[in-house]
């Protein structure tokens, strides 16, 4: 992982961040590996997919695979980094959403995240629980995951600051962004267990919870 490299590049899309041609090739190989691996996870499940199959799918030697990703967790981390990039880039391109009320913005953002992970439900389910172990690379406390988590928090903070400026909600500070992040994790847990058709219960929960949350904040915090 080239952390130092990424740190300097703030929240810009990762694809624009390519250094030299070698970097670009490396990035492309990583993407190819991820794509193939996700497809395999989908077909065979996380546990039953071997590194041999992943490298074969990506058209590289099994040994080379380890130069890019040491473990499946490593791969998952890369997946979430890509997801964060995709999310931020997508949101900036949605002109109508910029003007929408806060509850709708947050709904659209979280829904977009769910949509991104939706094809890989088994994979997400498996890594989601691993991330609860403090020793895991995916844990919210791990060094490796800080970079994309911070990027996500800053992004959410920006949206909340905008709502504060418009008078939609009172100042909530950094805590607001953490709350949204935690809320997202709760929603993913619900989503993973949601057996309703098209996971519509999660949609209803997401909508209700966000409108309740923003309404409570509008009334000036919890002292309503």
């Amino acid at each position: 992982m080239k952390k130092s490299h990424r740190g300097r590049n703030k929240s810009a899309g990762r694809t624009k961040r390519s250094g030299g041609k070698r970097e670009l090739n490396k990035e492309r190989t990583k993407e190819r590996i991820l794509e193939g691996a996700l497809q395999l996870f989908r077909e065979k499940g996380l546990e039953h997919t071997t590194t041999k199959e992943i490298s074969k799918k990506a058209g590289i030697a099994e040994g080379t695979l380890f130069n890019y990703f040491k473990t499946k967790e490593d791969l998952a981390l890369y997946f979430f980094q890509k997801e964060t990039d995709d999310l931020i880039q997508w949101f900036r391109g949605e002109a109508r959403l910029q003007k929408a009320p806060l509850a709708e913005k947050l709904f659209a953002i979280i829904h977009r995240q769910l949509e991104y992970i939706e094809p890989y439900e088994d994979f997400i389910g498996a890594v989601f629980y691993r991330s609860l172990q403090p020793s895991s690379m995916l844990s919210p406390l791990s060094f490796e995951s800080q970079e994309f988590r911070l990027r996500y928090l800053r992004f959410i903070r920006e949206i909340l600051a905008d709502a504060e400026k418009k008078g939609e909600i009172p100042p909530v500070g950094a805590l607001g962004a953490y709350a949204v992040g935690l809320f997202y994790m709760g929603i993913v847990t619900h989503w993973l267990h949601d057996t309703s058709r098209g996971k519509q219960k999660t949609l209803a929960l997401l909508d209700r919870a966000l409108s309740l949350g923003t309404n409570v904040l509008k009334k000036g915090g919890w002292e309503w």
Binding site: R96, L97, A100, P101, A103, E104, F107, A108, H111, S196, R197, G198, K199, Q200, K201, L203, A204, D207, R208, S211
Partner: protein, 443 residues
């Protein structure tokens, strides 16, 4: 007939109906229970414990919000089992499904059909043009260039209703509601609501009515797009026409009013006698009127398929032959009022005499070419009074309750339209008991 006629409650209901206020979807109870309640009598009972209970139930239901209100409404239709005070309180409940913002609407659409609206339509209006039964309706244009209406339901309504019913049962509301409300009634109410929110069933209703009403050339029923529909999304062809109030703004001629009034009346009797099923949501917004005399009929969420004895008995009502035929009289009482009502009871006699007077005055069999002036408020008042007696005495069986609701909704519509209609002549066309068989068709 009742002494002390009070008109205000009916007026209020009529006004409500005109405004189309609070009548979104098929919340029949709200629109039609109101006129059935005699306000003056209700006032007298304000102090009773019963009413206090009723208010408590309503308050509790209201605090729960959401689909639970629909439960209250469904229960309010069980006039056989509930006290009038309870019906009054319950029918005051209104259902609001929360509005969906465009992001949620799109997400729900995709959850139901696997794709976003803009992927399957040529164009799609993100803002809804109307509220629907626990959802909303959007205009769109298909890839083939056809204008359609797309009805989208709020997510997880079925689950919400099921869980509301679980809560209702657990909380002992059932006992509280009347003290003698049976579990089977609650189950029936739940089944009814779940049926009504299933758009696949509504699609079937539309197909059924599309075929059944085809002989009536002046009626337009939408076409369903099955590939763009599911249990939560319903895509239908757009039916032309204006809602009653918008239509009246165009200042239509008396001739046109009469023509449309006649068409609406024919539509009602044809459904009752030839189709034996009723589009039983007489919300004025469900009838789209056109200057060429055609009517668009929309929203088939609330449809009642009738047992054959229902139209038969209704026809016998009209024939008035029962007045001289004790056997027929007893049969009517059994079918219309239910087996628990004895034909010999004085209140039953009084009620039947009231019905006869009403029919003799407004639907005279000897002057069939005479048109009924529906603008006449006396007709509406008498109709409301009659309905009020029937409901208060718990006379109507659930099927007839549906029928009388549809009928008074229709009369309301015709009243606002100020139409003159030869009702008896039209009824005669298809009514078996009036013995003048005629084939349907021609407007």
């Amino acid at each position: 007939m009742v002494k002390d006629p009070t008109r205000s409650s009916f007026r209020r209901a009529a006004r409500l109906a005109q405004l189309g206020a609070g009548l979104a979807g098929s919340y029949l109870a709200h629109q039609l229970q109101r006129p059935f309640i005699d306000e003056a009598r209700a006032k007298d009972r304000r102090q009773t414990l019963h009413l206090k209970n009723a208010k408590r139930v309503r308050r509790e239901l209201q605090e729960l919000r959401g689909p639970i209100m629909k439960v209250g409404q469904a229960l309010s239709m069980q006039t056989h089992f509930l006290a009038p005070e309870m019906i009054e309180e319950l029918s005051a409940l209104q259902m609001h499904a929360p509005a969906m913002h465009p992001s949620l609407m799109r997400a729900q659409f995709k959850s139901a059909l696997g794709k976003y609206p803009e992927e399957v339509f040529r164009s799609f209006e993100p803002e809804p043009f109307a509220a629907a039964s626990l959802g909303q309706v959007h205009w769109a244009v298909t890839k083939g260039g056809e204008s359609v209406a797309v009805k989208i339901q709020y997510p997880a309504m079925r689950e919400a209703i099921e869980s509301d019913f679980r809560a209702l049962r657990a909380a002992g509301f059932v006992a509280l509601l009347s003290g003698h409300l049976r579990q089977s009634v609650v189950n029936e109410a739940e089944r009814g609501i779940l049926e009504e929110i299933d758009y696949l069933r509504e699609a079937k209703n539309i197909e059924f009515f599309g075929k059944a009403l085809a002989p009536l050339k002046f009626v337009r029923v939408p076409k369903v797009y099955p590939e763009l529909s599911s249990d939560r999304v319903l895509t239908m062809s757009r039916v032309r026409g204006s809602r009653l109030l918008d239509f009246l703004k165009t200042d239509p001629s008396q001739e046109l009013r009469d023509k449309l009034g006649t068409a609406l009346t024919r539509l009602f009797f044809y459904q009752l006698f030839c189709v034996q099923a009723l589009h039983s949501d007489p919300h004025p917004g469900n009838y789209l009127l056109n200057a060429d005399g055609t009517i668009g009929l929309v929203d088939f969420g609330c449809v009642k398929y009738l047992k054959p004895e229902v139209p038969r008995c209704y026809a016998q009502f009209w024939s008035r032959e029962w007045a001289h035929d004790p056997k027929l009289y007893a049969e009517i009482i059994r079918v219309v009022f239910g087996p628990r009502v004895s034909p010999q009871e004085p209140r039953v006699r009084r009620c039947m005499n009231g019905i006869r007077q009403f029919y003799d005055e407004f639907h005279p069999l000897d002057r069939t070419s005479e048109a009924l002036e529906l603008a006449d408020s006396r007709f509406m008042d008498e109709l409301a009074k009659l309905a009020s007696i029937l409901v208060k005495n718990k006379f109507l069986s659930p099927e007839f309750l549906f029928l009388s609701r549809t009928e008074s909704g229709m009369c309301n519509l015709l009243h606002t339209l100020k139409a003159r209609v030869r009702t008896t002549q039209i009824a005669r066309e298809w009514m078996p008991a009036l013995r003048r068989p005629k084939t349907p068709g021609h407007s």
